[in-house]
């Protein structure tokens, strides 16, 4: 309720400021008998910006620093023995807060607490008054300054547009900042991991057995990446074996054979697969697909585990089908119609045209699409967490349980706030590996697809 009132007051003040700017510009124009450089709107907006931005900066600075300053001032009321003991200090501070807010505290309230609470109350009052006054003064000064510059020559529109542009640029920079943030945070934590474990042992180790950080002195455990990487690769291969033929053939049928009506119905149906969250696929793999395969295996006398590289790979392939098919569909429809005409004009059947003319022409684009699909499979997490079996061993048998890079990241980091042990830091080394792999795949794929598009533009 309070916040609503504050917001309303701010809005009213700003709209008054706006009106003032706009009307000033009109009266300046009238009295000088000239045309202003910009329309009144811009003078109003400019005043608003000059009023709001400096005041907002002051307020942000206040809220960043004030609590710490007030806290330290209150600390001085505590006797040395309480202030010295962290636990006692925290509980005393919270009692003081409660007393100050009028909630009260239980048990005996020592004098110093009462005094501190009183001091806190008055401090807060002064601080609040001070900041309100300061914000108001800064806002008024900013407004007056901007007001003093209004004149027929003053390019208000350009200034306002400059401010908007600055905002737009900041927003675009956030995308870059995200990448920088990913690289820096993951890299720095990974480097900390490498102070515990030799990078050679990590990248070329064939045993993954990190132990628990709580088992303490009994050695570090083994952090060999290869079993995880192999699990990832095996599942990716299986997934691509499912997704590529089905996705590509579906794309071909949709773009070359299907009539408008069939396309209109079947395309969205297929795209439904793309919108399903991966946790749902994971659950589907775990309770339906896995038992189904192990049942078939049992009937054939094979030992097929319900959660295995095979189960995870097949379900991941299903997930990627619409991804492959919609990318390939785009790519195939970029092949110019004249190419098809040339082939049909020679008497080729549709399939001959597709296999011998369209696919070769679309090949680079399709390769790009496949690389993107691989990148997706490599980074997929929930399906493998639920359905791959989580057993980090080097095995060539797809029907056995495996583990992957992503599964291990989840296992090592979930719920763990301890950023000091190699057991949790290894997640960042794994994340770095994953990021670098997918980055390479993506950049190459995006480049190929872009070049392909330009070719037919």
């Amino acid at each position: 309720m309070n916040t609503l009132i504050v917001i309303a007051v701010i809005l009213i003040v700003l709209s008054l400021v706006y009106q003032w700017g706009a009307s000033t510009s009109r009266s300046v124009a009238r009295s000088a008998g000239v045309k202003m450089h910009s329309r009144p709107v811009y003078y109003g907006l400019l005043l608003v910006l000059w009023c709001a931005i400096p005041a907002a900066v002051v307020y942000v600075l206040y809220s960043l620093f004030a609590p710490t300053i007030i806290n330290s001032m209150i600390l001085s009321y505590l006797p040395a023995d309480v202030a010295g003991d962290p636990q006692a200090r925290v509980s005393a501070m919270s009692r003081i807060q409660n007393l100050a807010s009028g909630f009260g505290a239980l048990g005996d309230v020592p004098d110093y607490e009462r005094q501190a609470a009183r001091a806190l109350t008055s401090l807060r009052w002064t601080a609040n008054l001070a900041i309100v006054a300061l914000v108001a003064v800064v806002g008024v000064l900013g407004t007056l300054f901007a007001r003093s510059r209004i004149g027929p020559e003053y390019r208000a529109r350009n200034r306002v547009e400059w401010a908007i542009k600055a905002l737009l640029i900041t927003c675009s920079a956030i995308a870059i900042l995200t990448t920088v943030g990913i690289v820096l945070s993951v890299l720095s934590e990974a480097l900390r991991f490498f102070t515990f474990v030799n990078p050679i042992d990590f990248f070329f180790g064939t045993v993954w057995n990190p132990r628990f950080s709580s088992t303490g002195s009994g050695g570090q455990g083994d952090f060999g990446l290869l079993p995880l990487l192999w699990g990832t690769i095996m599942i990716t291969i299986i997934a691509m074996l499912v997704a590529v033929p089905v996705g590509l053939m579906a794309a071909i049928y949709l773009s070359e054979y299907a009539g408008a009506k069939f396309r209109f119905i079947s395309k969205p149906l297929l795209e439904v697969l793309a919108g399903i969250p991966t946790i749902v696929y994971g659950f589907f793999a775990l309770v339906t697909v896995g038992p189904f395969f192990s049942g078939i295996g049992a009937a054939l006398g094979l030992d097929v585990q319900a959660t295995s590289a095979f189960t995870a790979g097949i379900v991941m392939g299903i997930m990627i089908i619409p991804f492959v098919s919609s990318l390939s569909d785009d790519i195939i429809s970029q092949v110019p119609q004249t190419m098809r005409d040339g082939s049909y004009g020679l008497g080729a059947t549709r399939s001959e045209t597709i296999r011998k003319v369209i696919l070769p022409a679309a090949l680079p684009g399709i390769v790009g699409a496949f690389l993107l699909a691989v990148s997706r499979a490599v980074g997929e997490t929930m399906i493998v967490v639920l359905a791959a079996g989580n057993s980090p061993v080097l095995t060539a048998n797809p029907f056995e349980a495996v583990s992957t890079v992503t599964v291990t990241i989840v296992n090592q980091l979930t719920g763990d706030t301890d950023f000091a042990s190699p057991q949790s830091l290894v997640a960042f080394a794994l994340g770095l590996t994953l990021f670098v792999i997918t980055l390479c795949l993506n950049v190459v794929a995006i480049y190929i697809v872009k070049k392909y598009r330009e070719q037919y533009e």
């Binding site: 239980l106 990913i182 590509l248 297929l270 919108g275 967490v385 997640a427 997918t438 993506n442």
Partner: protein, 457 residues
């Protein structure tokens, strides 16, 4: 020159018509290949669509029954002998708030220590006389969380003590499993979840209509529970997810739209913008789990934000959704024909005015579609949330985004791992149905908007 100089036919030229027989010979084979190819394509699409069917079918078959749950309607005696508590305290003038809270707390504690099992046993004994002598079996018939329901009734209105009320109580999970046939009734007794007596009671009460399958409101009105699986619900997860969606809407959508406006309309074409372009495309393909690592390292470890809080989840998902929103917004800006922009510039508008007054309004529907799809994608995302601690067990509804919370997909992840498989498989599927329903609604909304506002230029 219709009468071109007659040149003799080239020597060795195959005479026309000579190929006809050869071509005819191969026709049958070529048409067969054509048919095979065509049917493979059709098959691929049908496989894709069939998979959609199987996936939805298996989840619906498992999940729909979980929306109804074994529920008993009992006449509950709020017997003052058993519910032996003092009057509810009220705030006295001489008390501080803290003291009142203290008194209320101890009253609540008294209420919680009431032997509710005995109350339940007594009311069960009214329909099943044998229950009077078998306290353990009787208590096991009702979900243990329902004791809290009785307690809450008394807390809300202490005057009901001493009266008899008809209350519908959710039966224990094992009763539900037994009645729905989710356990093999022929299993030997030591492998059964219900005692012999409880099995007989369940069947009898079901036949007499005391137990009926009623809509499971608990699923939507309760938070997660470990001790009482039958009353575990999604409320906390739904609220957490909604908070995160709102954060994504407030953070990712404006930033994404503004970044798109800058990149599409104002950015100079140079190396830097090329880099931003590649960077955004790549970011869109970075595995989601990497964003989770970023969140863990930056938001939790560096900025010290709380674990499992929707604010952190929302920010991580915003960063993840940002590229999707940027790409969709750019595409819809690009789809506005340049002629509109040029017309605006031609009548003297600045580029900024042309953008905000002419281009942007036309691009809004496309941007909205992109935003909704981005939000839907964020809603289903699980992996990054696991890394910021959202897989913690949280049995409360968050009231601010800074509090601990669960999220829908994470709740699915937690439930699928519950040991009480034959109960939670169905409940997890029900949670998935809820999640999918929300996602499909969002996507349908996006498609509707696209069709409603799609313009052809």
């Amino acid at each position: 020159m219709a009468s071109t100089a007659e040149t003799p036919a080239l020597a060795g030229a195959p005479s026309p018509r000579s190929n006809r027989d050869v071509v005819e010979q191969n026709l049958a084979r070529r048409h067969r290949n054509e048919a095979i190819f065509r049917f493979t394509g059709l098959g691929a699409i049908l496989v894709g669509i069939a998979l959609v069917g199987v996936l939805f079918g298996s989840i619906l078959i498992k999940g729909v029954p979980a929306f109804t749950q074994a529920t008993m309607t009992l006449e509950v005696d709020f017997d003052p002998e058993i519910i032996n508590i003092p009057e509810r305290p009220v705030l006295q003038a001489s008390q501080s708030v803290a003291e009142y809270e203290q008194a209320l707390l101890s009253w609540r504690r008294r209420l919680a220590f009431v032997n509710w099992n005995k109350v339940i046993q007594a009311s069960l004994a009214k329909v099943l006389p044998a229950a009077a002598d078998n306290a353990r079996d009787a208590a096991g018939m009702i979900a243990s969380g329902e004791r809290i329901k009785l307690r809450d009734m008394v807390e809300a209105d202490p005057s009901i003590v001493g009266t008899t009320q008809a209350v519908s109580l959710v039966a224990a999970a094992n009763v539900d499993v037994w009645l729905k046939g989710n356990i093999d009734r022929t299993l030997p007794q030591h492998m059964q979840q219900l005692s012999k007596l409880q099995q007989e009671w369940s069947d009898e009460l079901y036949q007499r209509g005391v137990i009926s399958m009623a809509f499971s409101t608990a699923l939507f009105t309760n938070v997660d529970s470990r001790s009482s699986p039958a009353t575990a619900g999604l409320l906390g997860a739904i609220v957490g997810s909604v908070m995160m969606m709102l954060i994504v809407l407030v953070v990712a959508v404006p930033i994404g739209v503004m970044a798109a406006i800058y990149l599409e309309e104002f950015a100079p074409k140079n190396r830097l913008t090329d880099l931003i372009e590649v960077n955004i495309n790549n970011l869109a393909a970075v595995p989601s789990i990497v964003f989770g690592l970023l969140g863990a390292a930056v938001f939790i470890n560096f900025l010290g934000l709380p674990l499992s809080a929707p604010i952190v989840g929302g920010l991580v998902l915003s960063l993840m959704t940002l590229p999707t929103v940027i790409i969709a917004s750019r595409a819809s800006l690009r789809a506005v024909p340049p002629s509109i922009r040029q017309a605006a510039l031609g009548v003297g508008a600045s580029p900024m005015q042309a953008m905000f007054h002419h281009t942007l309004p036309l691009a809004v529907p496309g941007m909205l579609t992109g935003a909704i799809i981005g939000v839907a994608q964020a809603l289903g995302e699980t992996a990054p949330l696991l890394l910021i601690g959202m897989n913690a067990f949280v049995a409360s509804v968050p009231s601010t985004p800074m509090e601990q919370s669960s999220a829908l997909p994470v709740q699915i992840y937690l439930w699928q791992g519950n040991e009480l498989r034959n109960f939670f498989e169905a409940r997890t599927s029900a949670a998935i149905i809820v999640l999918l329903a929300v996602m499909i609604t969002l996507n349908a909304l996006a498609i509707f908007l696209r069709n409603r506002f799609e313009r052809r230029w």
